[in-house]
Amino acid sequence: MAITSVKNLKEFSTANDRFEGAHTLCPGCAHSMIVRELMNCTDDNLVIGTNTGCLEVSTAVYPFTSWDTSWIHIGFENAASAIGGAEAMHKARKRKGTLSDNDAPVKFVAFGGDGATFDIGFQWMSGAFERGHDFTYICLDNENYANTGGQRSSATPIGATTSTAQAGKHSYGKKEKKKDIVSIMAAHGAPYVAQLAPNKWKSMAKGFQKALETEGPCFINTVSPCCTEWKFEPKDTISITDLATDSLMFPIYEIIDGHELNILYRPKNVLKVEDYLAAQGRYKHLFKPEYRHVIDEIQKGVDDYWEMLQRREEARV
């Protein structure tokens, strides 16, 4: 694979973007930061499948496409199957010698939001991982169905308000915990699984490169703060991501071959989750005295998970 140097940002910035502007993602959207970074990580040709979601409805609205590579969208759930089919066709045609350029290097990538990944497309993704297609699945996790106006998904954390799990007089928002998608995908035995965040651009770029280089199905959950539904100013996307990673709401780590866990980022000063929650309108109601217990519950969940990650890393199993 022809990888771009990510030694430092100056080197990285010589990559030639293949994701064009005048897409219709919201100003300040983290999705496009993540997509640009993925595409800038490699010089190889890319075949990209995208599940229905913000990214899809904003980047291929007839008569315009923002993609300088091969790209396909079918439905909300099936980008992993579509890319699996494309990857199978590449194998068949390469063997038969019917490709227009039999030696052109290519990488297969599927994007899905958390709605597509955690919920409606879970089966399609799981099947593609079991079959072992050589592709990288990247979840753009903004913890809600942002494309349709902010409904709950199984990635929505406890305590967040969404239009279908609302905070109200008798509700503190979503009651259920977020699904642990990273562990689930690691349990598929995938050779490379990681959770990455765009504020930590270098670990993200290296993780993307590792996933693209690794043969077989790789999964990356990326934190994608959503100014529209998380309710913060578009300019603050990166600072909110800083709060997410430094409060350990989104720990940055990788799991190799389903078991070898490495923590990729250890905040020097671990922030309280309260600092992260307070920066977003979706958690505003939690700061009423009657919902203090929810914040405590979130903090405990974060502490426990971090403890588990550290123990697993130390155990080297």
């Binding site: 609205v61 091969s70 396909i72 068949a92």
Partner: protein, 412 residues
């Protein structure tokens, strides 16, 4: 090239499933992505055995659902190679979302549909509920009435769908169990003849041609969607002469003649039965016997290409008869049978407007006998003599319990 050569006899004893899977093998399919479901499972199993024994050099992707099967077919087809799969019934229903996507993207996937009823109640036997579910999906739909035809039409399907003036997906239907599991004599082409007929796949908008990156599956809202769907419909309508041409070419190499509408004893027919699938062969036997035994001038009109619907050919075939029984092997769900409606619409545009009656029959694999077909002809004869439909306009044929029917002729 596959590692092994498959030995074929001039005459084989194959069921419809085996025949279809042999056509897939001979067409040198690049990607088959599939999920098994009764009664089409053996197509996938047979193909799997060809893979295991070195007769296939394409990819065989066994996915986790029919929805994923068609999704993988779409991704594979957009990647510039030959793609096929098979399904039935519930699997077909699960695929439905992606069927529309495949045709909308103009991808020439071949889908072998072994027709089976849709639950509930659960039923594994043949009727046409799944085929009807696909009728607005923008696919070409060809109907085989026996194993030989399942083989022949599967080969034709690649050549039709992949034609650059068509670029549409094609379903080849055969009736569950009656065709799919009944071993019959089949005369296959040699591998060389079959592949030469189908030809090399010629990619269009190939996702693996990196000199020309393409975006598949763009969103089109009110400013654009209508134009795209109209263009797609036009392509489907314009596939008619291509289907005719491919059938003619196939006749030249096989001696077997196919037409989009096939008439049997219709030259002087007074009454006719219009049907789909294996029913056609039963009706032909009944028509012949009735002519001999009761002097009823009966004929049969069979629809080979259900989509694009041969409106003009149906009209030409039926406009001179007096009374027509149109058979629907699918639960009509609160309306007249869909096939009845389409045939009636065609006949409405003729000067003489034959009488038309709708028969709902054979649901869930209920046998449709020669005697059942004769009864339909006899009722048509009574209608022809009376000058109006003497029975209910929609009747259930072969059903236990009190006679079930709806609507009567309005007479002044």
């Amino acid at each position: 090239m596959p590692k092994e050569i498959f030995e074929l006899q001039d005459r084989e004893v194959w069921d419809g499933n085996y025949a279809a899977s042999q056509a897939m093998r001979q067409a040198n399919v690049d990607v088959m992505a599939a999920y098994p479901i009764t009664p089409s499972t053996p197509i996938v199993e047979n193909y799997g055995s060809y893979v295991a024994n070195g007769y296939i050099d394409g990819e065989f992707v066994m996915v986790e659902s029919e929805h994923a099967a068609m999704s993988a077919c779409v991704g594979a087809s957009a990647s510039g190679g030959r793609v096929a799969t098979a399904t039935s019934s519930q699997g077909f229903a699960l695929m439905a979302e992606v069927l529309y996507q495949a045709s909308g993207m103009r991808l020439p996937i071949v889908l072998n549909v072994v027709n089976r009823a849709l639950a509930s109640p659960l039923n594994v036997r043949g009727d046409h509920s799944d085929m009807y579910l696909g009728r607005d999906s923008g696919w070409i739909q060809l109907g085989a009435f026996n194993a030989q035809e399942a083989y022949d039409l599967a080969l034709c399907a690649f050549k039709i769908g992949e034609d650059h003036s068509v670029r549409l997906p094609v379903m080849v239907h055969q009736d569950g169990f009656i065709t799919s599991h009944t071993a019959q004599n089949v005369y296959p082409l040699s591998d060389e003849e079959a592949y030469k007929f189908v030809g090399d796949f010629k990619p269009v908008d190939d996702m693996l041609d990196f000199s020309r990156p393409v975006t598949y599956g763009a969103q089109t809202e009110e400013d654009w969607h209508f134009e795209h769907k109209a263009k797609q419909h036009k392509a489907l309508m314009d596939s008619r002469p291509v289907i005719d041409k491919v059938f003619e070419e196939f006749e030249k190499i096989s001696g077997r003649k196919y037409k989009r509408v096939e008439s049997y004893m219709m030259e002087d027919a007074e009454v006719a039965l219009v049907g789909l699938g294996t029913t056609v062969e039963t009706a032909r036997v009944a028509a012949k016997q009735l002519r001999d035994e009761e002097g009823i001038k009966a004929g049969v009109v069979a629809i080979r290409a259900f989509r694009p619907f041969p409106f003009d050919l149906v009209r030409d075939a039926l406009e001179n008869v007096k009374s027509v029984g149109v058979t629907d092997r699918s639960s009509p769900g609160g309306a007249m049978g869909a096939f009845f409606n389409e045939v009636s619409a065609a006949l409405y545009t003729t000067p003489k407007r034959p009488l038309v009656t709708n028969y709902i029959y054979g649901l869930g694999g209920r046998d449709f006998s020669i005697e059942d077909a004769k009864n339909i002809f006899r009722e048509q004869k009574a209608n022809a003599d009376a000058g109006y439909v003497t029975t209910d306009i929609q009747q259930f044929s072969g059903l236990r319990g009190p006679k079930l029917g709806f609507f009567q002729t309005k007479r002044s």
